[in-house]
């Protein structure tokens, strides 16, 4: 009797315990979802506003567009020479990416597999460079570029992008290659394959996962860079996307639909890449930040 009364008393309190927990969970998840939606809102707003007319943009900023103005995009593409800027960004990013991958993989192969004097010093040299704030090199690099007449050329961007991508790339690749067993290459050496052959035919394919990480990181950096382009490029025909969008916004300040459409076009490639390779992008950018 006594015991059953005790049980009866305990049971409801046990139940409230669960429901308090449930409520707490529900509140937590509501909060989290709101936070997530708020995070996405600025981007969502950009996309819907890019399809609006000026009047709609000013009077109904939160509503969906009444008629989707696709012509904002065609006008933006034509009037701001975005095609050229897009092409410039592609050239600069792709060339510096290819250069980074090749020379970083080569250096990493050497650092991961061979013993030689000054190896420790060379590693330290790369680490020290990672502590240098990128913008503190703008003025001296500008002077350097001017003296070797590289200002207003693709190389003025390709070379610094590569240089700043190298430390992280070398660290990621060296760490990866050090974890790969040596048997395959040793077999190749015995078969008489030379060092370059082993590098090109064995080491490069083996390090593909690490190369993917490095590629994402280095591509995003050069695609999104603004400050180097601002300082080294003044010719309109050589401007990259971020720079030309910033200039464009100054020129068409009150044509909002047009400016927002131009911005949307410029973010589509990176967002598409992000949605396709999400895990790798997150991994790559985190590795890059922590090491760099």
């Amino acid at each position: 009797m006594n015991q059953s009364a005790l049980q009866a008393r305990q049971a409801p309190s046990h139940k409230t315990g669960i429901s308090v927990k449930k409520w707490r969970g529900a509140i937590l998840w509501t909060f989290l979802t709101i936070y997530g939606l708020l995070t996405l809102y600025p981007l969502f707003w950009l996309f819907i506003s890019a399809f609006k007319t000026n009047a709609e943009f000013m009077n109904r900023p939160f509503a969906l567009p009444e008629a989707w103005q696709l012509e904002n995009f065609t006008r933006a593409w034509a009037s701001s020479k975005m095609g050229t800027a897009f092409l410039n960004s592609v050239i600069v990013s792709v060339v510096s990416l290819a250069l980074t991958l090749f020379i970083a993989a080569l250096a990493s192969y050497v650092l991961a597999r061979f013993k030689f004097r000054f190896k420790g010093w060379i590693m330290t040299f790369f680490v020290v460079g990672m502590l240098i704030p990128i913008h503190s090199t703008l003025v001296p690099l500008f002077i350097l570029m001017k003296q070797i007449s590289l200002l207003n050329t693709y190389w003025a961007l390709i070379l610094p992008y590569t240089a700043f991508a190298l430390p992280t790339a070398i660290f990621v690749l060296t760490a990866y290659l050090s974890s790969v067993p040596k048997e395959i290459e040793e077999a190749a050496y015995i078969d008489g394959t030379g060092l370059w052959g082993v590098f090109l035919r064995i080491m490069l394919p083996i390090s593909l996962p690490a190369l993917a990480t490095v590629s994402i990181l280095s591509f995003l950096h050069s695609w999104n860079d603004f400050s180097f382009a601002l300082v080294f490029i003044s010719k309109t025909s050589l401007k990259t996307l971020p720079l030309s969008i910033a200039t464009f916004a100054d020129g068409y300040q009150t044509d909002y639909g047009l400016t927002l459409a131009a911005m949307t076009i410029s973010v589509i490639p990176t967002i598409a890449m992000y949605l396709m390779f999400q895990e790798q992008v997150m991994k790559g950018m985190t590795a890059g930040a922590v090491k760099g």
Binding site: F114, P133, T137, P140, S227, L260, S266, A289
Partner: protein, 291 residues
């Protein structure tokens, strides 16, 4: 394989990376330290003036303003990004649909260029057509409406939400991977000892990822010294130098008046300040860990 060929391969393999890296990262820093001692306009004779540029920087109120603003950015990152990311990381530690969606959403701004981020927030803050003031109007809070970016007293603080917004995702992923690296035994041991909730958080989880938090602090500092794009796009350091950062101060005083010597001295100061900041934060956090 003979040693000569190996040696040649080692040199050939390292040379391209070392050359490009030295020429475009290392040499500029050394050069700017050298040019910092000169009065030089880019053309003509460079005049050696010793520490003259540095004395001028130290006397310039804009420099101190810029330094203060950089400190505000560091504090906003340390007390904005890090706690938000830590809380989110602890809550998003499982992997169901909603959590994966939230993680992706929060990380998304990381892949955008600072130009686009700055321009979006410019529209949000716009005094007449901005959605922030529009929202305040709609909620009947007209008196809260402000000139977010053109009032010198608040402009620098208006710049911190976009900064936090764009980087929380990075710290979230860093903290999540640190949390996943805590071995399962430790959670079991904590449970046996009866440590749950806040107690477990402060005496087990946080100490376990303290090293990662230290890394995050360094990232906040170097990130703040790297913020140039966002501020340049949104305010160009104005109004009246109210949002000047060290990097925009350097840009504005070098390229608007072609004072390369003076700009080089500022560049060198930025390198020294950032090393000082990072050193101090390392010292503070490692002391706290031992104490």
């Amino acid at each position: 394989m003979n040693t000569l060929r190996i040696r040649r391969f080692v040199v050939m393999g390292l040379l391209p990376s070392l050359l490009i890296y030295a020429l475009f990262v290392f040499v500029p820093v050394v050069w700017s330290a050298y040019y910092g001692f000169f009065d030089w306009k880019g053309i003509g004779e460079a005049k050696f003036i010793g520490l003259g540029n540095y004395a001028e920087i130290l006397r310039d109120p804009v420099f101190w303003r810029a330094l203060k603003n950089n400190v505000i950015f560091v504090l906003a990152s340390v007390f904005g990004q890090v706690p938000i990311a830590l809380v989110l990381a602890i809550m998003l530690n499982k992997s169901n649909m909603l959590q994966r969606f939230l993680r992706s959403a929060i990380f998304m701004p990381m892949v955008l260029s600072a130009v686009v981020i700055g321009m979006i927030w410019q529209y949000i803050y716009h005094p007449q057509i901005g959605i922030l003031n529009f929202l305040l109007d709609a909620l009947g809070l007209e008196s809260w409406k402000l000139q977010w970016l053109s009032d010198p007293n608040i402009a620098i603080f208006s710049l911190t939400p976009p900064l936090i917004w764009s980087f929380v995702g990075l710290y979230l992923i860093i903290f999540m991977s640190a949390l996943q690296n805590i071995p399962g035994d430790i959670h079991d041991a904590a449970q046996i000892d009866g440590a749950t909730g806040a107690r477990k958080l402060f005496s087990v989880t946080l100490p376990m990822i303290w090293g990662t938090i230290q890394v995050a602090l360094i990232l906040c500092i170097s990130g703040s010294l790297k913020s140039f794009d966002l501020v340049y796009i949104m305010t160009k350091g104005g109004p009246a130098h109210a949002t000047e950062l060290l990097a925009t101060y350097m840009y504005n005083s070098t390229f608007s008046s072609y004072r390369y010597g003076f700009g080089s001295a500022i560049s060198t100061s930025i390198v020294l300040i950032s090393l000082l900041f990072i050193g101090t934060s390392q010292w503070l956090t490692s002391r706290r860990k031992n104490g």
